[in-house]
Amino acid sequence: MSSFSVTEPSKGQKWFAGIVVVVYALVTLMPLVWIIATGFKSPADAIAYPPKIVYEPTLEGYVNLFTTRTRMTPEALEEIGPPQTWYDRIVRRYDMVISGPSRYGERFLNSIIIGFGSTFLSIFLGTLAAYAFSRYRVPLKDDLMFFILSTRMMPPIAVAIPIFLMFRQLGLSDTHLGMILLYTAVNLSLSVWLLKGFIDEIPIEYEEAALIDGYTRFQAFYKVVLPQATTGIASTAIFCLIFSWNEYAFAVLLTSGTAQTAPPFIPTIIGVGKDWPAVAAGTTLFLVPVMVFTILLRKHLLRGITFGAVRK
């Protein structure tokens, strides 16, 4: 196979590879750039055609995202007096005053509680289950593993109606607990399978050495296996978080108030006067936690910590 050269790639090949990467990055990053840019446009600039590349940035979208506003008559405005703060000044251009905070903060917090809560629970249960499947003789192990995976063989929304009815019956509708349990249930199959793969790769000798060094089985698990599994746990956690963070269909169906997450909330902003910049601003901020989480766990994603400690 001549195309698989063992020598250094030639200059031309390097250039070609570089171009492919750049084109790919442009294609995938374009929508993101668009959204971030739109967040800083005025409503008029946001829907301008052809799209404006150069525009005067404004925080209007962000102000609108976090506030509710009321239009007032010029007389009433005169009575209030001139705007006091920078955000007051922005809304005053449209003869409006800020009448209170919007629901975005709450919804965002709901997303954080539900997203991280279900991720934690998926990882916690998934690690224990994966360890048991990896190390113990579990009766019907293969069947159980297949059964766990089979919950992923249909789109989760296929069971929306039964879940909707169950949640109503159990009083879990529109509760944080309900959403955490639901997302955990969906994520668990993924986390058990992924983590089992990672734990299988950790040589059992480490635990045996710990057992002989005077530790109990559980101590060996959390002092020796867990540190070795951080790579797997980190990547699994990222997958779980991304799923529960972005989940839309169940959130629309099962939450409306107290436990509503950001994804079903953001589109409702549009209703208030085609406010695309506010939607874009909400989406931009919504990206931040997953990005931060991924960056924080990035170093654990790099393999190689076990390199060389056991000779294969």
Partner: protein, 365 residues
Amino acid sequence: MAQIVINNLRKEFGSFTAVQSSSFTIEDGEFFMLLGPSGCGKTTTLRMIAGLELPTSGQILLDGQDVAQMRASARDIAFVFQMFALYPHMNVRKNISYPLVSQGMARKDVRERVEEVARILDIGNILDRPVGGLSSGDRQRVALGRAIVRQPKAFLMDEPLGALDAEFRERMAEELRALHDRMGATTVYVTHDQLEAMQMGDKIVVMNHGVVEQFGTPQNIYDWPATMFVADFIGSPPMNFLHFEGAVKPGTGSIRLNDVEVAVPVQAGEASGKLALGVRPEHVVIDDNSPVRGIVTATEYLGTTQIISVATQGGNLKVRAPSSRIVGVDSQVGLSFRQGALTIFDTKTGRAVLSEANREVLSHG
């Protein structure tokens, strides 16, 4: 330091019996080898002594106390793994101190003990290095350090030299033996390498198919194998077998090997039918006056000695002779056997027939 008595130890995995009723005694301070081909149950036996497997039945007496069903951590035994199993997320010092930390020893004492072990093993300069980048020899020493730092009742080693390069192996084997002699610690060592076992062990247990074939000092096992398996497994080249039909009974002093009379040690046991005469290559002498004849098929030069392959009526055999003895391939030679070093095997059972020569060695085991 401790004496370990293995009493009728048995381990079954489902329907497969890995170890069948083994019994042997490891004396205090002994360097004890568990030897056998892979799958013979030696590692399972070692893991049962360590507490990593629980026996199906039988006793493991550690200084008189039955520990067979006790947790590994409660046995005070150290284990050196073939693949070292150093904790990869800790540096050398932490790896070595880990067993002490689990006992809740004071930090200052831990430090002292680790330094002392590092001195013994000459690894003081790498104490603060991560284990990832170490050479296999250093990793081996760290694994040993983790074992000796605890001053346990016994050391168990599962082919600890198996992962090393051939040249390094020799040196580590010497170091291990020297370390053992200095500390006088009871050591149980698993290997499939008969040379390693002979070279390092005070006593050897030879296992096959989960059965203890023979138990004794390297020399006794080499000179007086209890079974054809042991005779064949130990020694390089292994013991020769010359097959013949006949019968021996107590008092028999010679056998008829294909119509030639061969003197053997006075027999103490009884056997008949298909028998085999076992003789080590160095106990066969090229002797042109002997009536046992054979054709030389090959010679293999080994420096001071050579191995001569000879085809005889009773089968092929190998002769270890001085290199100075010149024999041509395809030439006919006569062979004589050193009477005092011969063993007769019953090929039906594979066991050696007792004689005046091997009686003392074989009857106690």
